[in-house]
Amino acid sequence: MYELAEAVPWLGSRNPRAARGVVLALMLIAPMIALSAGNTWVRILDFALLYVMLALGLNLVVGFAGLLDLGYIAFYAVGAYTWAFLASPHFGLHLPFWIVLPAGAGFAALAGLILGAPVLRLRGDYLAIVTLGFGEIVRIFMNNLNHPINITNGPQGVNMLDSLSLFGWDISRHIQITDDFKINSLVLFYYVFLLCVVGSVIVIRRLQLSRVGRAWAAIRDDELAAKAIGINVRNMKLLAFSMGATFGGVAGGLFGSFQGFVSPESFSLMESIAILTMVVFGGMGNLGGVILGAIALSLLPELLRSVALPVQQALFGHVILDPEVLRMLLLSLAMIFMMLLRPAGLLPAHARYSRPELAGAGRITE
């Protein structure tokens, strides 16, 4: 929140409180603005918020603890499939969200531990390779566990997932207030996701300030020194993996309920890389940066898509470059320019892992 407010051009450095108000107002009215451009844009915003949650979770592992994870999407998959198994006609179970969502988070955390345990001694490239393999293993399992016993329904995926219903309201339906005024379900999902993002930010912020957050910062900078000052490096790394996975699991559950359908192809390696790009692009280790990175890199390709298609049609009479190709091109270009212009990301992390409001102020001595 502080970081985001600081990033507001001009106002951020002059009047942080007003800047914070601007950020808050923008978050609240964003779906209304999007709605005027059509339902598609609200849907894109909803997905942007899911990406924010994923990026926040991955940032915990990569940005805070310094453990490169290229298979993060696996935890998203675990959360989504948990929803599919416990709340869809697939197994005939229709448990309420307050059981399914925590279950998804719990299974994801468990998956985090399962990934974390064997990679404790690995760093850098080796860690990246193993986590990448883990992500692929999970996806391939989901793809193939339809035989001999049908668990995941294979490449067809599971559909007709229950939607999210809060206090008896199914938020996948529009709420008709008067004859000509209704609240769009996509907008409802937006606010539910926003609430989850805000909750995540609060939890992650507390974690960052806690002893755990400090231990992660120490491990990230120097593992041997971290051991030498009495940090239980093994437990802290496992905690980083499982905490990061938890957020992925929650996001996955929400994704399942939102989409109503899950299939293995949503959880490809490219998705892991896209999320990592968001974290790096925004500013590893800085919550505001990560949020900004996730929003920017999930909205920009869509903007590009809506511009590039008509432009190509007008210029050449047909579409030369598929929007999906453009998306990857954009991600790559974004990374290259980032490395050249702002190697620490859009909003670089403060030196202080704690109390960012004190950064640069120094300590008052005498």
């Binding site: 002893r211 400090r214 231990a215 910062a217 120490a218 990230r220 900078d221 120097d222 041997l224 020194a225 051991k227 030498a228 000052i229 009495g230 940090i231 239980n232 490096v233 992390a349 030196a351 202080r352 892992y353 704690s354 640069g360 102020a361 120094g362 300590r363 001595t365």
Partner: protein, 241 residues
């Protein structure tokens, strides 16, 4: 010989990296309030020994006793709680945290807030250069300043024994002198120190006792001045013909 006053004692300790035997059975001890140095050429096994004492490296056989207890099997983070603090080779500071955060990390295992503040003040008075740079990111400090931060950080855990690994490494002679002044101050305050050094001359000058390591074994032992005047040591480690 080890006495009741012994804080650290190694008995026939062997350490191996896979098939390669780095330390081939060494015995030595450090008494309370002593500055003991371990000298030797590159690859003699000095750093390996220190890492094994701090628990970041497992030993193959033998026994490490600290303050009367066998700590051979204790994990590193628990050894610190017993009062064993390591300043790793190459300083091992947290480069992306500020100097103050680095120092406070030293007190990670403690929760006695007032005493921590007192210890911080004590470290500041010992290291005035560090105090001027509290809000600075530690990675931007000079090598000597980083070394001081690393020592200060170790002191904040209130150790009984401080393990220093090559504090003079890569530093200008003048800076090395400053570091040794700090080490002397710490010793005067009653801290026990085990110092690993390649700069044998300087280390032996300040040490009460010293051990010479060669090829994974201890080849010579004696008081600082004895070793300093030993012709074998002089020719091998002090650069005299």
């Amino acid at each position: 010989m080890p006495t009741d006053n012994t804080i650290l004692e190694l008995k026939d300790v062997q350490i191996a990296y896979g098939q390669i035997q780095a330390v081939k059975g060494i015995d030595f001890h450090v008494s309370t309030g002593e500055l003991v140095c371990l000298i030797g050429a590159n690859g003699a096994g000095k750093t390996t020994t220190l890492n094994a004492i701090s628990g970041t490296l497992p030993i193959k056989s033998g026994e490490i006793r600290f303050a009367g207890q066998d700590i051979s099997k204790l994990p590193a983070h628990l050894r610190l709680r017993q009062g064993l603090a390591l300043v790793p080779e190459g300083r091992g500071i947290f480069t992306r945290l500020t100097v103050e955060e680095n120092l406070r990390m030293g007190a990670y295992t403690r929760d006695d807030k007032e005493a921590i503040e007192q210890d911080l003040e004590r470290v500041y008075s010992m290291l005035p250069r560090v105090k001027e740079r509290l809000a600075q990111v530690a990675g931007t400090l000079s090598g000597g300043e980083q070394q001081m931060v690393a020592i200060g950080r170790a002191l904040l855990s209130r150790p009984k024994l401080l393990l220093l690994d090559e504090p003079s490494m890569g530093l200008a002679p003048l800076v090395v002198e400053k570091i040794f002044e700090v080490i002397q101050t710490v010793v005067k305050e009653g801290m026990s120190i085990l110092l690993v050094e390649q700069n044998a001359n300087l280390a032996l000058e300040f040490a009460s006792r010293g051990y010479v390591m060669d090829g994974g074994r201890i080849t010579l032992a004696g008081s600082g001045s004895e070793l300093l005047n030993d012709p074998a040591v002089r020719s091998a480690y002090l650069g005299e013909a």
